[in-house]
Amino acid sequence: MQIETIEKKAFNIRKHIVHTVINNGDGHAGPSLSCTDILATLYFGIMDIKVDEPKYPNRDRFILSAGHKCLALYGTLIEKGFEMADVMKTYNMLGTKVPGHPDMKKFTGVDFSSGALGHGLPIGSGMALSAKLKGEKQRVFVLMGDGEQGEGSNWEAAMFASHHCLDNLVGIIDRNGLQINGSTLEVLDTRDLRERYSAFGWSVKVVDGHNIEELLSTFQSIPFQKGKPSMVIANTIKSKGMPFAEGDFKYHHWNPGKDSQEAKDALDALEHYAKEKGWTK
């Protein structure tokens, strides 16, 4: 039951992503769609947060280090009830609360602003350390991209987190294998991320990033090893849910136009998926 609930939430988040880009123009659709199932699992199956008290001090924290995947985060927080869905109609508009990278001062429920890659893991490490020092039980989740692993600041934080035994810190790598200029293998090889993070003192698990059941059980087993930060390497498919774009780096950005064939194909794919699941009449 819980799994189907999360799957439905993930579907709704995908609808927010696709509709927003079709209606309002250019957005990071591909990377947002690859991490959608991870966000749905965290926010609807794992994290301790209160919608009626967004700044609840002991809440679990989530940092979208790969801030360009913000459409997925906005969709998730809307589904959670932090903001109304109408807010997405202002995407790409002057003064919007939903800019192209998330801003903690603008959108309720965003735990920290992000955008420039490689910032999330250091900030999350500080939050996790704070919880340890105060004896609080909160956990801190930081979602990164696999291309983002090229930023050296991640590895500074990786050393720091294991040195300070931050087993309340959870890194997640949305490993869709693509970045803006092509395959991560071609741009900067990240095949052995498991070995690298293990060598840095983390406990690492590799999962299917679209399998809700596996994601749920993985996050439920945190920390993987007492005294060590946990890293979840989630193998995903870029543009998951838009078959014509899946696994194609060109859809890192997407700007199909309202009346385009691609827009129609994307909406048809969503409808088809819902029918398959039996969620529509």
Binding site: P57, F112, S113, L121, I123, G126, A157
Partner: protein, 315 residues
């Protein structure tokens, strides 16, 4: 002027320790810089409030942002060019734009690391730090200002950059006669309007000594000290500028974008016809040597400041 000299790092360390004892939220964050920053007494007495991050300035700023979001008041210190330049994007995004309550200490700033070479000198940090939204920029020039800057920074809600000097220094005035407030300039001398000298940081003493020479030569001179570079005290500045014949700014920093630039920006739309001259480090100056000799080579000792001013006013 008092002849007593004190080490600013010791003064900083003592003040930080006291502040830490009074407030358990104060967290000293070291980038393997505890001894160089004067934080070792803090480490010894308050180890539970001392965090060693290692040689990783970007991470230190990120970790400090995370600690601040959770209610701590991190005071993160590293050698000035590393914390202000290597970690600039983290300072801008994670402290400035996010308005996090973190105090960034650029230790051994300016030409302090005179002999170590240009990699360790920070002569562009004011330019960078004052460009960041929400950032308060303090540039203390003596141990009184060091102590007061730190205390004021802890009381201030939001990010603050303190440009810390390294060398022992005399104090221009008896500390008991001074007050300190973020955003307030102070007159150190006022004998007339011929020459206004706006000083900041480590060259305050040299600026004041130059002024005394000029005063003895018969010029009416004002010396205004600006420990706060941002927000600049535009009130005291504009008032002095209105009747001034010449305005000179003096700083141990590049002439591009620093204190002098801030003064020019502030006065750009005000009344007053006095020429403004920025006395600082010329673009392209990359040199090494003993501190005072380096200052002299860059034209920043009191003797050179007098020469520069006389050259201008006697034209």
């Amino acid at each position: 002027m008092t002849t007593k000299k004190r080490n600013p790092r010791d003064a900083f360390g003592e003040a930080l320790l006291e502040l830490g004892k009074n407030n358990s939220c104060v967290m000293a964050v070291s980038c393997d810089s505890g001894s160089g920053s004067g934080m070792n007494p803090f480490k010894k007495e308050l180890p539970q409030q001392y965090l060693e991050v290692g040689i990783s300035e970007q991470n230190a700023i990120g970790v400090s942002a995370g600690l601040a979001e959770s209610g701590y008041i991190p005071v993160v210190s590293a050698i000035a060019p590393f914390i202000s330049m290597r970690a600039f994007e983290q300072v801008r995004n994670d402290l400035g734009y996010a308005n996090m309550n973190v105090k960034v200490i650029g230790s051994s700033s300016g030409l302090s690391h005179c002999a170590l070479g240009s990699t360790h000198q920070a002569i562009e940090d004011l330019t960078l730090m004052r460009s960041i939204p929400n950032m308060v920029v303090l540039n203390p020039g003596d141990v009184f200002e060091v102590e007061m800057s730190l205390r004021a920074a802890i009381d201030h809600q939001g990010p603050v950059y303190i440009r810390m000097p390294r060398h022992e220094m005399a104090e221009p005035l008896d500390a008991s006669e001074r007050s300190f407030e973020i955003g307030k300039g102070e007159y150190l001398m006022n004998t007339g309007d011929d020459i206004v000298i706006a000083v900041t940081g480590t060259l305050t003493i040299d600026g004041l000594m130059a002024a005394k020479i000029l005063d003895e030569m018969g010029f009416g001179v004002k010396v205004i000290n600006f420990t706060t570079v941002k927000p600049l005290d535009t009130g005291i500045l504009s008032e002095a500028y209105q009747n001034a014949k010449y305005l000179f700014t003096v700083e141990e920093h590049s002439v591009i974008g620093g204190f002098g630039s801030a003064v020019v920006e502030a006065l750009a739309a005000t009344k007053g016809k006095a020429p403004i001259h920025i006395v600082g480090i010329a673009d392209g100056s990359i040199n090494t040597g003993p501190y005072r000799e380096l200052l002299e080579a860059y034209g920043l000792t009191w003797e050179k400041i007098v020469d520069r001013i006389l050259f201008v006013v006697k034209k």
